[in-house]
Each structure stands twice: as structure tokens, then as C-alpha cells.
């Protein structure tokens, strides 16, 4: 049975609205697998990628996840970008007891035994970014602008609480939501300008998602919103998004991530070189979710080697505590809550579409599954090691909430 290749599923959108972001992740996974195979595979076996296209269609994602696990019998799946994708495949992974590595920053409030969250949770991205603006730029007024869906809503909820706790007046926070793919930003940008002209230093915290960003930044540039006056810090804008337009008028606007292509470390240089080589173009950029896949894949490889098998239960046990280098010179560790440690970097947009790191956390920040700034989840803890072995352990009642309590 141990003969033949080990199969790995790649579950990304190659068409539809999300293809724009996710296609790259498919490519990077194929590259990583190719590299691993050249280095001898795992457990002496080759890895075989199985690629499917979920076509930005979430029921289809669940269907294809099931098919990957049941028909193709993959041992681990790397995939999804949106939360709804993850939410829709999650029951499948739980039911069939397989592994999902999820590479994108998300709203938190989740920890599942079969899922490994290699992207940032809000405490690894949003909170440090706000801290930076408050301390370094002296921002007192806040525009929280986001696309109207769960990630921005949750993040903004957390941020709002955080800002109120930090003494910001309610009047000094403006929250604005726009539909997916919003393309006419004239009114909103001018509202931001108006809000910003009311005196104290103002910044925009943007959780605007995907396609909407290019027109948003173009409008910012055209209405002359300069970073020196009203900086915009974004959590969903990376190198990939910036490659769609001329960033010269936007120099100085910010993004908070755990990785930037411009970080100069040997690992990163090697990674970028390999990527350019693999994709056959020097123009292609790297970004944060790619690094997350890089980390996640290496962690899985380590765990499988350690466990000596690809069996899901064994890997789940073995992977907690696994440490692999990230691309920014630190070490990523898989925590018991299935999130990882990450550095937080704040970068300013440069005219070449890259980010210049202007600030970074001194230590790695451990990912927090349950936000401390939401009352209901402040008491929750996730720990997938014995004796707790629970995704939502209530530290007050000392019980494991939800289905596991019943199932176990």
C-alpha cells in the first residue's frame, strides 16, 4: 500500500472571480511539489499533485474536496482563498478526516482539527497595523473601509473594539462597506477626504477585497489622496494586486502582511529565483499567501517525515510544534491551535509596485484563533493536543464547547 506516489490535492479557483488571486497559489504549490520531488520526495515516495478547479463556486468546492479525498485519495489538500470556500469544505474534511492547509489571512474565530491556518489571524495583521499608525503616524481618526462580507466585518468589529479601548472617540471612527467588485469609488474617496479634513490626523484601514482594490487605488491617486496626509493601510493588497496599475502616485500607502517580496533574506531570494524560474517570467511577483503555502507545505512534509506515515491522525499529532523557516528570516511554528507564528511587517507602497518595510514586530506573533477583543470568544481557547484536544475550549467553564463535547 505504501508503494506509488503520495497524492496532494490542490483546491483553488482557476476560473471565475477568484482565479485572479488563486491561480498563482496553484502554481506555487506545483513548484513546491516539484522541488520536493527533486529532493527525493517524502518517505522515499514521490508526490503527485491533483489539481482541480473550484471555479469560484463554493458548493463545487465542497464537491471537489470530497472527490479529492474519496476518489483521488489524496493525503492532504492545499487550498481555498475565501472564508466561504473554507467554510463549505470544512465539514467534508471533518467527515472524511483529511487535512486542509489554508493559506490566507482570515477573520479568525475558528479552529478545526483537520485544518491548518497558515495565513494570518486578525491579531497577526490588523492589530499591529493599527498600533503602528497610532504610534508612528499619530493617527487619531479612523476610516474602516471594507467590502461587505464576513472577514472585513469581523476584523472591523475587532478593530473598533480595540480602538475604543484605546480611547478613540466613537465619532472618530467611520465605517464604510461596499459591495464585492465595487468599481466606482468617487463618492467614497471624497467622503474619506472630507472625513480626513476635519482636523486630526486620519488614516484608512482598508479591508477592501480583491478586484475592488485597483479602482479604489486609482481613484485615491486621481483625487490626490497622498500617503503623507491620509495614509491607507490595507490587509488584502499585496504585490499581486499592485501589479495591475501604476503605483507612483500611491507611494507611501501601507499594507500589513507577514511577508513582502522585498524582504531581503537568502531564503526569500532563493524562493523568488525559483519562482521566476518555474513560472518562466521575471515579472511575476511573490506574495504573502504564497509564503503561507510554502510554510504549510514544508510543515506538512516535516510532519509526515516525523510521523513516518501520511495517515491524517498521525500527521495531526506530529505537526503541532513543527518549526520551519519562513521567508523573512524567522521560524514558523505550528501551534496547538493549528495557527502559526508569524512576524508582522508593515510596508509602504513604492513606485515599482513593491513594498518597503517600514516597521516590523520584534518577535514572532502567535496566531490567535479566538479574538480577545470579542466578548464571546475572549474566553475561548483552541488546543489540539492532549489533554484539551478541542477547538473551542472555554477557559471559564473548562469545557469543550460544541459538537466535540457531544461526539467524544
Amino acid at each position: 500500500q505504501d508503494e506509488g506516489p503520495i497524492k496532494v490535492g490542490i483546491l483553488h479557483s482557476l476560473s471565475g472571480t477568484m482565479a485572479i488571486s488563486e491561480t498563482t497559489l496553484r502554481d506555487v504549490m506545483l513548484m513546491l511539489i516539484e522541488q520536493q520531488n527533486e529532493a527525493g520526495g517524502i518517505l522515499g515516495r514521490q508526490i503527485e499533485p491533483v489539481v482541480v478547479d473550484i471555479a469560484s463556486d463554493w458548493p463545487l468546492a465542497a464537491e471537489l474536496a470530497r472527490r479529492l479525498i474519496e476518489v483521488d485519495e489524496v493525503d492532504a489538500v492545499f487550498g481555498c482563498w475565501t472564508s466561504v470556500c473554507r467554510k463549505s469544505v470544512l465539514p467534508v474534511f471533518e467527515e472524511l478526516n483529511s487535512l486542509l492547509f489554508y493559506p490566507v489571512q482570515y477573520e479568525g474565530e475558528e479552529s478545526q482539527r483537520n485544518v491548518f491556518y497558515t495565513g494570518a489571524s486578525p491579531n497577526q495583521q490588523a492589530i499591529p497595523a493599527v498600533d503602528y499608525l497610532m504610534e508612528e503616524e499619530g493617527v487619531e481618526r479612523w476610516v474602516l473601509a471594507g467590502t461587505d462580507y464576513v472577514y472585513p466585518q469581523t476584523t472591523n468589529l475587532i478593530l473598533e473594539q480595540y480602538l475604543l479601548d484605546a480611547g478613540v472617540a466613537e465619532d472618530d471612527i467611520m465605517i464604510n462597506y461596499t459591495p464585492f467588485g465595487h468599481s466606482d469609488w468617487q463618492t467614497i474617496v471624497s467622503d474619506i477626504v472630507a472625513f480626513g479634513s476635519e482636523g486630526p490626523k486620519t488614516a484608512v484601514v482598508s479591508t477592501i477585497n480583491g478586484d475592488a482594490n485597483v479602482p479604489f487605488y486609482r481613484e485615491l491617486a486621481n483625487q490626490g489622496v497622498a500617503a503623507e496626509d491620509i495614509p491607507v493601510v490595507a490587509f488584502s493588497v499585496g504585490e499581486e494586486e499592485l501589479s495591475g496599475f501604476d503605483t507612483a502616485p500611491l507611494v507611501g500607502h501601507l499594507a500589513a502582511w507577514n511577508y513582502f517580496m522585498s524582504v531581503e533574506t537568502p531564503e526569500n531570494e532563493e524562493f523568488i529565483a525559483a519562482w521566476h524560474d518555474y513560472i518562466g517570467s521575471e515579472d511575476r511577483v511573490t506574495n504573502d499567501p504564497m509564503e503561507a503555502h510554502y510554510i504549510g507545505f514544508n510543515m506538512w512534509v516535516e510532519a509526515v517525515e516525523a510521523a513516518g506515515t501520511t495517515d491524517a491522525d498521525a500527521v495531526i499529532d506530529a505537526i503541532v510544534g513543527v518549526q520551519v523557516p519562513n521567508l523573512t528570516g524567522g521560524i514558523a511554528e505550528m501551534l496547538p491551535n493549528h495557527h502559526i507564528t508569524k512576524p508582522v511587517l508593515i510596508g509602504e507602497i513604492q513606485d515599482d509596485g513593491q513594498f518597503f518595510v517600514v516597521w516590523e514586530t520584534e518577535d514572532l506573533v502567535p496566531g490567535d484563533a479566538w479574538s480577545d477583543f470579542l466578548p464571546e470568544s475572549a474566553v475561548l481557547e483552541a488546543d489540539w493536543t492532549d489533554p484539551i484536544n478541542c477547538g473551542n475550549y472555554n477557559t471559564e467553564t473548562e469545557t469543550c464547547g460544541g459538537s466535540e463535547a457531544v461526539a467524544e
Binding site: T17, I20, T23, S183, P200, P215, R218, S243, P249
Partner: protein, 537 residues
Amino acid sequence: MGSLNRFGRPFLALIFIALAALAAPSAKAQSVAEIVPQMYDASLGDLRDAVAALVATGEDAALPILQALGAGNLYEADNGGIFIQTGRNQYEDALTGAEADLDVTGDLSTIRINNSLRRDIAAAVGSLTLMSENPATRRAAAAQMFSTADPANIELLDQALAEEDNPGVRTVMEQARAAAMLRADISEEDFAAAVAVIAARGDRQALGILNANLANASEAERVNIEAGISRINQSLQLWGIGQNVWYGVSLGSVLLLAAIGLAITFGVMGVINMAHGEMVMIGAYVTFFVQEIIRTTNPGLFDYSLAIAIPMAFAVTGLIGIAIERGIIRWLYGRPLETLLATWGLSLIIQQGVRTIFGATNREVGNPSWMSGAFELGGLAITWNRMWIVVFALVVFALLLLVLNKTPLGLQMRAVTQNRRMASAMGIRTPWVDAMTFGLGSGVAGLAGVALSQIDNVSPNLGQSYIIDSFMVVVFGGVGNLWGTLVGALTLGVANKFLEPYAGAVLAKILILVLIILFIQRRPRGLFALKGRAVEA
């Protein structure tokens, strides 16, 4: 650097004294020649010190270095040298002015700065250029000082005002002085005068300054400021309505552009053209392609890239449209609903085709300089790209109207789509007319793509995001009526922009859809409904 300004050294010295307050308390004065080498491989903190030190030197040579650093044109070489970029691949030594020899220096890389440093530099450069010979530069410097509003600048501004004879620049300087005064410890009359100056300016920035001073003003001053604020707010409100109309018109023009090709293929020909969005998308990719070629072969032509892309996009999408008509649509006349199925299939194929060729990610399409930035028209801020898009949309509309109503081809197009068999019996070459009509509709869609590439993503999904709105516009306006499409697009645009501030972008969009549904109940054949026997079966 010869004479830096009109007043020479004594004046400069004065500036530097004034700026000393702003500069970090450095232990002892250094010379530019000493400071510059320290900028090599410096941390942001070190750079900040260096900037302060440079300002403190009082040397002429400091200004170009500061300007270069602010603009991201200051480079460090592997060998520790510091260079200023003077042109494409041209660098000169910041201290000696010698041309850089890359063999000696090694690779050059930009010295990166952050926002707060950028602000410091802007303030410093502002002060240093306040006496420049060029009025535009002086004006910019004054404007910079207005936003910095630093009391330390007051003396400097007084000096400059004494010499200033350009009335425009004077006003800005006075405003800058007033802004700075508000922060200083001044008498009540002076305060009132300053508030008046700023309130007279009447824009958002003025409002910002007044608001900022509200918090730490005395009781009497507060009354003054509040009066100023309400005056500004009043005028802003009025202008706000105009601004909203403009936003609406500009949104409407985008809708018009997106829809107008469909008004032909769907409105005139009756083909439920689900591949319309893909034609728009291809138009955008043609723009990308044209710009890409220009970038690699002749960057000087970049400002003309759109002028080149417009006919190219029209030709490319028009030809594709003709090919589609000849290959597929022509078999489907008489079964209009089937065109939905075929063109849907086509749109899938085209999208994936573009994704395969150009990749799934966004492609970079730049704005030529004349499409960038904004200008003020009274209290209206109008961005150039929106403004040109409005003009472009109207021109395309007018041309199309002309073609459809005033040329034999237009007449034949309408005749063919109303009764293909009879048109043929009248001697009209229906296959040719069909191909031309579909080609024209597709070509116009391609033109829309050129315009949309200037405000939106250029990705394989571009078309999808406009197709629904396009159908809404055409149907709302009344199928088969070009004027309807125009009025429909503008109405929806303006309505949207008036709802948005109250309801938010999401609800505004929902409300617009509900309004369309309700409107169609009142006018079941759209805004510009055709009436009479001719249409009622």
C-alpha cells in the same frame, strides 16, 4: 547650483535659524559633505537625523539632495557612494556631481524613506523653496506650508510676503501664514483675522485647519472659528450637490460606454449577447498590449498610447465580432433565445482563452499623464480620467447615433433586424449588413474596454462585472432606442450617486435595482418606449 533664490545667502541663513527648531537637536553642526556619506545603508531613524542635519548645514547643496530623497531619486551604491538620479539610467554623485560609473560604484539602489520622513522633507523643501524664482514653485512651497501650519514659519512667510508681487502666490502665502498664526500665541484680533483669511479659502483643507484649531481655542476664538466653519460648510454643501451630479454623470458615462455596444448587438439586432462583456474585456487587453509594446520600444509615446489603442481596439474587437457573427450568430437568426446559449458558451471560451494567454492576474495599464490627477472647477474636484471618459462616451454616442440614423448602413441595419427576409428581397445584402452590425456593436464594446482599462482591473473577469449593468441600462432605457440608453445610463448613474451618501454603496445598489423593477412596472417597455401599433403585436 548657482543662485538658489532671489535673495542669496543672508536670507538662507535666516531660514536655517528658523528651521533649527524643526531640526533634531544635533550635537554640532556638520557639513553636507560630512552628512551625505552617513546616509549609506542608514536606518530610517538615522536618515531622519541626516535630514535634520542637512537642513541645519545651511548649504546650497542640501536642497537638491533633500529633493531627490523626497522624490525617491537618491541612490546608494554598493561602494558607499550616494547618487542623484538625473535621467533614465543616469546618476550623478550627490557631492561632486560626477557621472556615476557603474563599474566602479557597483549596483545602485534607491534610498527608501517612509511617510513621516517624507513629510519632514516636504516641510523642509517647502521652506527652502519659498523664495524660488519660479512662481509655481513658490506657490507649491506656500501650499506646503499651509498644510504644515508650523508657527516657526511665520517669520519666513512674512519675509516672503514682503517681496511677493504675484497676487496668486500672495494669497496662498497669506493663507499659509494665517494657518501658522492660529497655532501660535497671538492676540484675539490677529486670531480673528487669521480665521477670516482661512475661512475665505473655503475648501476642505481650510475646514481641516479650522477644525484642528477648534479643540484648543479659547471661548471667544471658538465662536469665531465656528462661524468660519459653518460658512465653509455651507458653500461646501452647495458644491457637494454639484459634485454628486458630476459623480453621477461620470458613473453614468461608464455605464453608457459599457452598454452602448450592447444597445446595438442586443438593442438593434436582438441578439442576447452574453459575450458582450468579453468584447469589452478584449478592448482593455488591446490597450494593455499597445502600452506594453510602447513601453518596450518607445516609452516616449506613452502619452499617445490611448490614441493608438482606440482604433486598434475597435478594429480587433470589431473583427472578432464579425468572425463570431459569421461563424455562429448567423445560424441563429429567428431563434433569438438560442443566441443566449451560444454567446454564453463563447464568453466562457473567450474568458478562459484570455486567461490562458495573458494569465489570470491583473495586467498593468497605466494612465497617460493627461488622464492623471484632478483639476478644480469652482468647488468641484474633477479628475481628468473621469472627465475624458465622459467626453469619450458622449463622442462615441454621437457617432453611433449618426451612423445609425444618417447613413444607408444604419437604415439597412434596422431594416435587416426588423425583417431579414424582406430586407433581402429589397436587395439589401443581409449577410454583409449582419456582419457589419455585429462588428460595429463589438467594436464599440472594445472602445468601452479602452476607457474602462483606465479605471478598473484589466483581468479576464473585467467583462463579467459590467454585463449585468449593461443589460439593465439598455432595458431600462428601452430596447432599440439609443437615446434611451443614454438617458438610462445617466439616470441610473446620478440616482446611484445621490442614494449612496444616504444609504451606503451596498444599499444604494439594491435600491437602484428595486427602482428599476418598479419603474418597469410603470413603463413596461422602458424609459423611451416605442409606442403604437408597430410594437404591440
